[in-house]
């Protein structure tokens, strides 16, 4: 019994660490990448994985209690809303004339709405 709880605790700790590491990498990406669109790549994808593994860690730690169920819901909503937020930010930025960085090769979207 106690071995099992220790094992589950260790696994949940592992998920917490993975999550925090990914969120940390996402923040580095936010600082290092050149323009809005590339930065969104860092925050949406890495942010989703980071937050999701923290939620898995919580579920493993507290089980299917009130907190665990809420963590599952938060994780699913995050999976659903993070891409939509990224899409809206990118679209608004592009329509306001925020240019792509100098390394960019092509821009098919620019010609469509002017």
């Amino acid at each position: 019994m106690s071995t099992l709880t220790t094992a589950i605790d260790a696994i949940s700790m592992f998920f917490f660490l993975i999550g925090i590491a990914f969120v940390f990498l996402g923040m580095i990406g936010l600082l290092r990448l050149p323009d809005v669109y590339n930065r969104l790549h860092a925050t949406t994808k890495i942010g989703t994985v980071g937050a999701f593994s923290v939620m898995i860690g919580i579920v493993l730690k507290v089980g299917l209690s009130a907190m665990g169920l809420k963590a599952i819901t938060v994780g699913l909503f995050l999976l659903l809303t993070a891409p939509i937020a990224a899409h809206m930010i990118a679209r608004a930025a592009h329509r306001h004339g925020v240019g792509l960085c100098d390394e960019s090769i092509m821009d098919d979207y620019g010609k469509t709405y002017k």
Binding site: F22, M106, D108, G110
Partner: protein, 164 residues
Amino acid sequence: MKQYVIYSVTLGATWCFLHGAINLPNFLIGLVLGLLVIRPFKELYDIDKQTSYRNIIFRIPKLVRYFSMLIVEIIKASIVVAKIVLQPKIDIHPGIIAVPVRTTKDLSITAIANTITLTPGTLTIDVSNDRSALYIHSIDVSDPKELRDSIRDDLEEYVLEAFE
């Protein structure tokens, strides 16, 4: 009518999860509140569409396959972006390309767009006015044709199977 039942059962389950206790009274409260919530937003829910319960149950394995694919892709995506972020000198060739899609259904386009955003190196920006193409920002567009092919052959297949 069937649509009402499906949506309110979903909303009832959501209510249970948000409340933090899964039991019958909670589910019934959620069910009743769900019916009240659906009423004013009728236009958004496409109530009059014909569906059968069998159709939905048959779709579950495909949805499971789609979601497992999605989870694997998200983890891959994070590792790809993490690698780029940790390079000493960031060497990327980003750009926006138009990628044609084969469907015109709202739900499928939303699903494809969200899946694209969560998969490695790509981010959906907008859908064209005639709904025939998605504008996608990619971290690496040195080979636009290959990128289009990979989206059409891998992602779209799964999404169309699961949602159409």
